[in-house]
Symmetry: C2
Subunit: 110 residues, 2 copies
Amino acid sequence: MKKYLSRPEEFVLLVLYQIEGEAYGNNIRKKLAEVTGKYWSIGSVYVPLDRLENKGLVKSFTGKITPERGGRAKRCYEITKGGLERLAELQKAHNTLWSKMPNLSFGEDK
Amino acid sequence: MKKYLSRPEEFVLLVLYQIEGEAYGNNIRKKLAEVTGKYWSIGSVYVPLDRLENKGLVKSFTGKITPERGGRAKRCYEITKGGLERLAELQKAHNTLWSKMPNLSFGEDK
DNA sequence: TCCATTTCTTCTAATCTATAGAACATTTGA
DNA sequence: TCAAATGTTCTATAGATTAGAAGAAATGGA
Protein backbone atom coordinates (compact mmCIF):
# COMPACT_ATOMS: atom_id res chain seq x y z
CA MET A 1 0.00 0.00 0.00
CA LYS A 2 1.35 3.35 -1.10
CA LYS A 3 1.95 5.85 1.65
CA TYR A 4 2.41 9.14 -0.10
CA LEU A 5 2.50 10.72 -3.51
CA SER A 6 5.75 10.01 -5.29
CA ARG A 7 8.11 12.86 -6.01
CA PRO A 8 7.04 13.36 -9.64
CA GLU A 9 3.40 13.17 -8.65
CA GLU A 10 3.97 15.79 -5.97
CA PHE A 11 5.83 18.14 -8.27
CA VAL A 12 3.36 17.78 -11.09
CA LEU A 13 0.45 18.55 -8.79
CA LEU A 14 2.16 21.55 -7.27
CA VAL A 15 3.05 22.96 -10.66
CA LEU A 16 -0.48 22.33 -11.83
CA TYR A 17 -1.66 24.41 -8.94
CA GLN A 18 0.60 27.27 -9.90
CA ILE A 19 0.16 27.51 -13.61
CA GLU A 20 -2.12 30.35 -14.61
CA GLY A 21 -4.50 29.50 -17.41
CA GLU A 22 -4.44 26.19 -19.17
CA ALA A 23 -1.99 23.61 -17.94
CA TYR A 24 -0.99 20.98 -20.46
CA GLY A 25 1.97 18.73 -21.19
CA ASN A 26 4.57 21.12 -22.52
CA ASN A 27 3.46 23.84 -20.24
CA ILE A 28 3.82 21.70 -17.19
CA ARG A 29 7.10 20.40 -18.44
CA LYS A 30 8.53 23.87 -18.87
CA LYS A 31 7.40 24.96 -15.44
CA LEU A 32 8.94 21.87 -13.89
CA ALA A 33 12.22 22.60 -15.61
CA GLU A 34 12.06 26.21 -14.53
CA VAL A 35 11.27 25.46 -10.94
CA THR A 36 13.71 22.61 -10.47
CA GLY A 37 16.47 23.67 -12.82
CA LYS A 38 16.52 20.14 -14.19
CA TYR A 39 15.68 18.45 -17.44
CA TRP A 40 12.25 16.80 -17.61
CA SER A 41 11.63 14.44 -20.48
CA ILE A 42 8.20 14.25 -22.03
CA GLY A 43 7.64 10.85 -20.55
CA SER A 44 8.50 11.97 -17.07
CA VAL A 45 5.65 14.43 -17.25
CA TYR A 46 2.97 12.38 -18.96
CA VAL A 47 3.53 9.12 -17.13
CA PRO A 48 2.84 10.61 -13.70
CA LEU A 49 -0.01 12.67 -15.14
CA ASP A 50 -1.62 9.52 -16.49
CA ARG A 51 -1.23 7.77 -13.21
CA LEU A 52 -2.65 10.72 -11.32
CA GLU A 53 -5.61 10.72 -13.64
CA ASN A 54 -6.19 7.00 -13.21
CA LYS A 55 -6.25 7.54 -9.49
CA GLY A 56 -8.65 10.44 -9.85
CA LEU A 57 -6.21 13.00 -8.51
CA VAL A 58 -6.31 15.13 -11.64
CA LYS A 59 -8.83 15.35 -14.43
CA SER A 60 -8.25 16.35 -18.02
CA PHE A 61 -10.18 18.09 -20.75
CA THR A 62 -9.43 19.13 -24.28
CA GLY A 63 -8.12 22.65 -24.50
CA LYS A 64 -9.25 25.33 -26.87
CA ILE A 65 -7.42 25.58 -30.17
CA THR A 66 -4.98 28.45 -30.22
CA PRO A 67 -4.11 30.42 -33.34
CA GLU A 68 -0.57 29.07 -33.43
CA ARG A 69 1.34 27.38 -36.18
CA GLY A 70 0.07 23.84 -36.03
CA GLY A 71 -0.28 21.32 -33.37
CA ARG A 72 -2.61 18.80 -32.06
CA ALA A 73 -5.28 19.60 -29.53
CA LYS A 74 -4.00 20.27 -26.06
CA ARG A 75 -4.93 18.07 -23.22
CA CYS A 76 -5.38 20.24 -20.18
CA TYR A 77 -5.28 19.11 -16.61
CA GLU A 78 -6.57 20.29 -13.30
CA ILE A 79 -6.35 19.01 -9.78
CA THR A 80 -9.34 17.30 -8.28
CA LYS A 81 -10.52 17.41 -4.70
CA GLY A 82 -8.89 14.04 -4.20
CA GLY A 83 -5.63 15.47 -5.49
CA LEU A 84 -5.80 18.32 -3.03
CA GLU A 85 -6.42 15.88 -0.23
CA ARG A 86 -3.32 13.90 -1.11
CA LEU A 87 -1.34 17.11 -1.26
CA ALA A 88 -2.73 18.16 2.10
CA GLU A 89 -1.57 14.90 3.59
CA LEU A 90 1.92 15.49 2.26
CA GLN A 91 1.91 19.06 3.42
CA LYS A 92 1.17 17.93 6.92
CA ALA A 93 4.02 15.43 7.03
CA HIS A 94 6.32 17.97 5.44
CA ASN A 95 5.54 20.57 8.02
CA THR A 96 6.34 18.14 10.76
CA LEU A 97 9.58 17.01 9.24
CA TRP A 98 10.93 20.06 7.51
CA SER A 99 9.96 22.81 9.91
CA LYS A 100 12.70 21.74 12.28
CA MET A 101 15.37 21.80 9.61
CA PRO A 102 17.76 24.73 9.32
CA ASN A 103 18.56 26.12 5.93
CA LEU A 104 20.90 23.56 4.44
CA SER A 105 21.98 25.45 1.36
CA PHE A 106 25.43 26.57 2.36
CA GLY A 107 27.41 27.39 -0.78
CA GLU A 108 25.70 24.89 -3.03
CA ASP A 109 27.24 26.28 -6.18
CA LYS A 110 28.92 23.15 -7.44
CA MET B 1 19.14 9.71 -14.14
CA LYS B 2 17.48 10.21 -10.78
CA LYS B 3 16.40 13.75 -10.05
CA TYR B 4 15.66 13.78 -6.36
CA LEU B 5 15.62 11.60 -3.31
CA SER B 6 12.61 9.33 -3.22
CA ARG B 7 9.99 9.85 -0.56
CA PRO B 8 11.23 7.11 1.79
CA GLU B 9 14.80 8.29 1.34
CA GLU B 10 13.76 11.81 2.20
CA PHE B 11 11.79 10.80 5.27
CA VAL B 12 14.47 8.48 6.55
CA LEU B 13 17.11 11.17 6.24
CA LEU B 14 14.96 13.76 7.95
CA VAL B 15 14.14 11.44 10.80
CA LEU B 16 17.78 10.53 11.10
CA TYR B 17 18.51 14.19 11.49
CA GLN B 18 16.00 14.52 14.29
CA ILE B 19 16.65 11.50 16.41
CA GLU B 20 18.62 12.34 19.50
CA GLY B 21 21.27 9.80 20.35
CA GLU B 22 21.73 6.61 18.41
CA ALA B 23 19.53 6.09 15.37
CA TYR B 24 19.02 2.50 14.33
CA GLY B 25 16.41 0.41 12.58
CA ASN B 26 13.65 0.16 15.13
CA ASN B 27 14.26 3.61 16.39
CA ILE B 28 13.95 5.10 12.97
CA ARG B 29 10.95 3.01 12.26
CA LYS B 30 9.16 4.19 15.36
CA LYS B 31 9.90 7.81 14.64
CA LEU B 32 8.65 7.44 11.09
CA ALA B 33 5.42 5.94 12.36
CA GLU B 34 5.07 8.68 14.95
CA VAL B 35 5.73 11.49 12.52
CA THR B 36 3.62 10.19 9.66
CA GLY B 37 0.93 8.38 11.58
CA LYS B 38 1.37 5.42 9.25
CA TYR B 39 2.63 1.88 9.51
CA TRP B 40 6.21 1.32 8.39
CA SER B 41 7.28 -2.25 7.85
CA ILE B 42 10.83 -3.25 8.72
CA GLY B 43 11.69 -3.61 5.10
CA SER B 44 10.48 -0.17 4.22
CA VAL B 45 13.02 1.23 6.62
CA TYR B 46 16.02 -0.94 5.89
CA VAL B 47 15.72 -1.04 2.14
CA PRO B 48 16.01 2.74 1.74
CA LEU B 49 18.69 2.83 4.43
CA ASP B 50 20.75 0.31 2.52
CA ARG B 51 20.36 2.22 -0.68
CA LEU B 52 21.27 5.47 0.99
CA GLU B 53 24.36 3.83 2.38
CA ASN B 54 25.36 2.43 -0.99
CA LYS B 55 25.11 5.89 -2.41
CA GLY B 56 27.15 7.32 0.42
CA LEU B 57 24.34 9.43 1.80
CA VAL B 58 24.40 7.81 5.20
CA LYS B 59 27.04 5.80 7.00
CA SER B 60 26.60 3.14 9.62
CA PHE B 61 28.49 1.88 12.63
CA THR B 62 27.88 -0.71 15.29
CA GLY B 63 26.17 0.72 18.34
CA LYS B 64 27.11 0.16 21.93
CA ILE B 65 25.47 -2.74 23.71
CA THR B 66 22.70 -1.65 26.02
CA PRO B 67 21.76 -3.41 29.24
CA GLU B 68 18.44 -4.57 27.87
CA ARG B 69 16.84 -7.96 27.74
CA GLY B 70 18.49 -9.49 24.70
CA GLY B 71 19.07 -8.45 21.23
CA ARG B 72 21.62 -8.34 18.58
CA ALA B 73 24.03 -5.43 18.15
CA LYS B 74 22.47 -2.29 16.81
CA ARG B 75 23.47 -0.88 13.53
CA CYS B 76 23.45 2.89 13.88
CA TYR B 77 23.23 5.38 11.09
CA GLU B 78 24.17 8.96 10.50
CA ILE B 79 23.85 11.34 7.59
CA THR B 80 26.93 12.14 5.58
CA LYS B 81 27.84 15.41 3.94
CA GLY B 82 26.58 13.99 0.67
CA GLY B 83 23.28 13.21 2.32
CA LEU B 84 22.94 16.75 3.57
CA GLU B 85 23.66 18.03 0.09
CA ARG B 86 20.89 15.93 -1.38
CA LEU B 87 18.55 17.16 1.32
CA ALA B 88 19.57 20.73 0.64
CA GLU B 89 18.71 20.27 -3.00
CA LEU B 90 15.27 19.02 -2.06
CA GLN B 91 14.78 21.79 0.45
CA LYS B 92 15.41 24.33 -2.24
CA ALA B 93 12.87 22.84 -4.65
CA HIS B 94 10.41 22.47 -1.81
CA ASN B 95 10.70 26.07 -0.82
CA THR B 96 10.02 27.14 -4.34
CA LEU B 97 7.04 24.90 -4.77
CA TRP B 98 5.45 24.77 -1.36
CA SER B 99 5.92 28.31 -0.14
CA LYS B 100 3.17 29.48 -2.45
CA MET B 101 0.71 26.91 -1.20
CA PRO B 102 -1.98 27.82 1.28
CA ASN B 103 -2.70 25.50 4.14
CA LEU B 104 -4.61 22.66 2.53
CA SER B 105 -5.73 20.82 5.63
CA PHE B 106 -9.35 21.78 5.85
CA GLY B 107 -11.19 19.28 7.97
CA GLU B 108 -9.02 16.31 7.12
CA ASP B 109 -10.50 14.12 9.80
CA LYS B 110 -11.72 11.30 7.63
C1' DT C 1 -3.95 20.05 -53.25
C1' DC C 2 -0.06 18.08 -50.84
C1' DC C 3 3.45 17.84 -47.93
C1' DA C 4 6.92 19.72 -44.73
C1' DT C 5 6.75 21.71 -40.35
C1' DT C 6 5.13 22.49 -35.95
C1' DT C 7 2.99 21.23 -31.79
C1' DC C 8 1.36 18.00 -28.97
C1' DT C 9 0.23 13.21 -27.07
C1' DT C 10 0.73 8.10 -26.67
C1' DC C 11 3.28 4.22 -26.19
C1' DT C 12 7.06 1.36 -24.69
C1' DA C 13 10.77 -0.63 -22.36
C1' DA C 14 14.70 -0.83 -19.22
C1' DT C 15 15.99 0.17 -14.80
C1' DC C 16 15.13 1.30 -10.27
C1' DT C 17 12.14 1.68 -5.99
C1' DA C 18 8.47 0.47 -2.46
C1' DT C 19 6.69 -2.48 0.62
C1' DA C 20 5.86 -6.46 3.43
C1' DG C 21 7.34 -9.99 5.96
C1' DA C 22 9.99 -14.41 6.39
C1' DA C 23 14.31 -15.93 7.78
C1' DC C 24 18.21 -15.47 10.36
C1' DA C 25 21.37 -13.83 14.20
C1' DT C 26 22.61 -12.59 18.85
C1' DT C 27 22.00 -11.90 23.66
C1' DT C 28 20.03 -12.81 28.21
C1' DG C 29 17.51 -14.74 32.04
C1' DA C 30 14.99 -18.55 33.91
C1' DT D 1 20.14 -25.03 27.73
C1' DC D 2 16.50 -22.96 25.66
C1' DA D 3 12.64 -19.65 25.21
C1' DA D 4 12.03 -14.89 24.72
C1' DA D 5 13.55 -10.53 23.34
C1' DT D 6 15.67 -7.54 20.18
C1' DG D 7 17.77 -6.67 15.90
C1' DT D 8 19.15 -7.19 11.03
C1' DT D 9 19.32 -9.41 6.39
C1' DC D 10 17.23 -11.31 2.59
C1' DT D 11 13.92 -11.72 -0.99
C1' DA D 12 10.12 -11.23 -3.99
C1' DT D 13 6.26 -8.86 -6.15
C1' DA D 14 4.17 -4.98 -7.56
C1' DG D 15 4.71 -0.44 -8.86
C1' DA D 16 7.29 3.90 -10.36
C1' DT D 17 10.90 6.52 -12.98
C1' DT D 18 12.79 8.01 -16.96
C1' DA D 19 13.95 8.79 -21.75
C1' DG D 20 12.71 8.97 -26.15
C1' DA D 21 10.57 6.85 -30.33
C1' DA D 22 6.37 6.74 -32.60
C1' DG D 23 2.02 8.57 -33.71
C1' DA D 24 -1.56 12.29 -34.48
C1' DA D 25 -3.44 16.59 -35.98
C1' DA D 26 -3.35 21.32 -37.63
C1' DT D 27 -1.28 24.93 -40.66
C1' DG D 28 0.67 27.34 -44.38
C1' DG D 29 3.46 27.61 -48.47
C1' DA D 30 4.57 25.71 -53.20
